[in-house]
Symmetry: D3
């Protein structure tokens, strides 16, 4: 039954509007327990000449990048050790933590850290979840790792979760948890 | 600039409506990059005699429990080993995973599992994030653990993250990651 | 998908609003071929202090009587030959036609007319349909007649249809068709 | 005073929207007794990218044929004995009744039935009224008949009414009443 | 045809809302040349729990005093030389000009100034007009003066106009023009 | 917080809509004491096929000329003694008053009147204020005069105010006050 009317300045892409209606529908469904099928959203788009605040026409904001794509693209670049590409996703104040690593601030540190831990590691993604906070977007990716230990034996099905914070379309924080230490004992 | 008008049958609590406006504002802000201060939401409430679908009056859905409270209350009950209370938060098909545990289905299994690992453990919460999906709510809690090892020595500042899935106000899944194994090596 | 928002001064009864939502839903469904289940209607009610035209507050109109009840009550009064009651439903310019009768203007003429035709007649209603025109409401009632011929033999299952025009909650015209003549031949 | 805002996916023809605003205005006027001149309707049209239900874009329904035209065209085809054209308006489960005919299911039966009754008959239409029901549209046409009896004498001014039921732009039922039997006695 | 929907937090008085609908109707009529009778305004009032900006409930502003009453009451107090009452309408930075006076800042100066000009003067009001500016309200009062010259002879029908600026329900400026000098020549 | 939704037939110019949003914002700010920055206006424009009153499509009104431009252009034409151009701004029933003039009805009378008073006079505008009344627009222009007395000496900083009434884009009345008489004494 809940019905939303969203008034926006025109100019946002269809992809962004689709992302928006899905996020709003899911939030309304989660909070009211209404069936998503019963939730309708109507987007009114307005030319800038048809909107004013303080009596003045206003311009639309630019719209955010898709946080799922942003995180997946970053993870893929890291898996391929394409650090140059990966760095483009990072805010200048980017901070990372891995199990036992303390806070790292450079991707080179990540590469160093991993050297004694495994020959390579790749991710099988299970879920990506997005939590919208007032001042940031938090993206969670969980699934399993597979790869090779330093001695060349292979491993797989080791659980992991990554927690990312995004501000202004840049990653400002990444926190990683996994069961590699448990698996190695 | 984005402006939302939400039409609802009346009957939802002010607490629920506040939770809803915050979730909607954060989603809109995250997706459009509009400043939350510039996002206004108007909730139109309708008596059941003023809403119809298919020409028939409809009743409102019941509204969901606050997912943050639900998860925090469950974690507190577990920390206090009040299993009876903790079970009330669980769906009958509840499944848990911990580092190295495989899938568990009973809280007693958790208690057994923890016996050889530590005398007690408590959580210091840093963040709770809520991701609304079409078919479930996913809640993430991360922070640090403190407690005592089996030999009585204390530990602290060990990172953890819990991932919960909620359907119909019950926990259906809990996945736990932490650095206990790393810390013990 | 069609969604209607109806803005009204408050004061109309729930019964009237239900009648209105059903009529609007049926019209929209008939014209767009949308499934009635997919058509939602929200009624905004406004105190007279919250509506103005020409800068002045306005009062709501009184609302019309239910045309189905009006016609059914009139037919019941006529069937029971309670002419006094039946006359209360009639406009002062009321006109009737029956098969072969020409235009009649008084209920007494109806009673006279029927004398040679049958001892009594009663109606079994099948359908009542309401057509809203800009300047009047037209109500159609069809079904079958049963009763006794002047010679005392009974009849039944004789098709009839009545067409009524309503203005200002009064019947201004009734046109009757039936198969009595065919049945008698 | 009543004011309607109709939200639709774009794509409906101006003719359909005009038919819709007239039907809605007449229904509102009939039910509230507001003057039609005081009833305004605003149609908001939305691109499919600006409407979602269940978080998914939806397509508009196709819109129904004008029921007045449909019935008038069918009646004209029948009057001209263009049965091939007339059949195109009929649902496969079409049923008709005429005075004394019982239920007929084929237009050929109509032609047979009429043979002994008149050489030809034509209609002078007085009113066409449309009643929108949840599951069908009911159209009523009344007026007078003129034509020639089997003996070649002419007749005129014989009252008739036709009741049609339309589903999915096809006639599913036609019920005919008239005073031919009365006139012939 | 223009139709306005005004969304407000509830709590404003009916008198204020009436003033608002009249001001909005007049502005719309003046700018679009639509007949005021064709301009309708619907005020949606919202409890504070049904409005949020930045995800937080907000309180309504207090509403302004009626500028017409404010100015008329001030003029009456001045005419009656009730300076104590008159001062209550003034902002601490109040400035006045009269013909030939330069800028005055105290009501006592006005009284001094008038001493040589007339024994008394009273106003017959013809029009009061209100101009809403973004940062202030400007009220104009024009009409004619009558009274007695210093020599005791009476005068009347001398044109005047007063221009007032109001901020925060206080007069911040009064400019007076009249034909007293012309009349005295 | 106040939020306006204005529904209009499309066709008005951006300049007119800007003038409208400023007038509405200022009126709302003045009456509610809300900060103009907190007042948003959304204009819904409708094709004529998407609006009906009484079930019939309607055409938009033409929109009024900018009253500020109209008055300024008239004053400029008068200052330049371009009477032919100035007359185009006047209604056929135009009336003027100046200090001591009584009611004048022709611009030639103004020219005559001024001959003995000054060689020329020009205006320095300080403020232009617009008051929208239900049946007219009242425009006020105030500032100071400069020019030359009949004897060739110059004057300046003499206060004036003009009050104009506009109906249907024509000036119907002009009332002038100034301190010329005071200055000459």
């Amino acid at each position: 039954m809940p019905m939303l009317q969203v008034s926006l300045l025109s100019g946002y892409s269809n992809e962004l509007k689709e992302r928006m209606t899905q996020a709003l529908t899911a939030a309304i469904a989660g909070i009211t327990r209404a069936n998503p099928e019963a939730i309708s959203i109507w987007i009114h788009e307005f030319d800038s000449s048809n909107y004013s605040r303080g009596g003045m026409a206003r311009q639309p904001s630019t719209g955010a990048a898709d946080p799922t794509s942003l995180v997946h693209d970053y993870l893929m670049a890291m898996e391929q050790r394409d650090l140059e590409k990966a760095r483009k996703f990072l805010d200048e104040n980017f901070v990372m933590t891995f199990p036992g690593s303390g806070e790292l601030t450079s991707l080179n540190q990540v590469v160093e850290l991993s050297k004694g831990r495994y020959r390579f590691v790749k991710k099988t993604l299970e879920s990506t979840n997005i939590a919208y906070e007032m001042d940031k977007i938090v993206v969670f990716v969980n699934g399993t790792l597979y790869g090779e230990w330093p001695d060349g034996t292979s491993f797989e099905s080791i659980r992991f979760i990554d927690r990312f914070e995004i501000c202004n379309d840049r990653l400002v924080r990444q926190d990683v948890w996994n069961d590699l230490a448990t698996a190695q004992r």
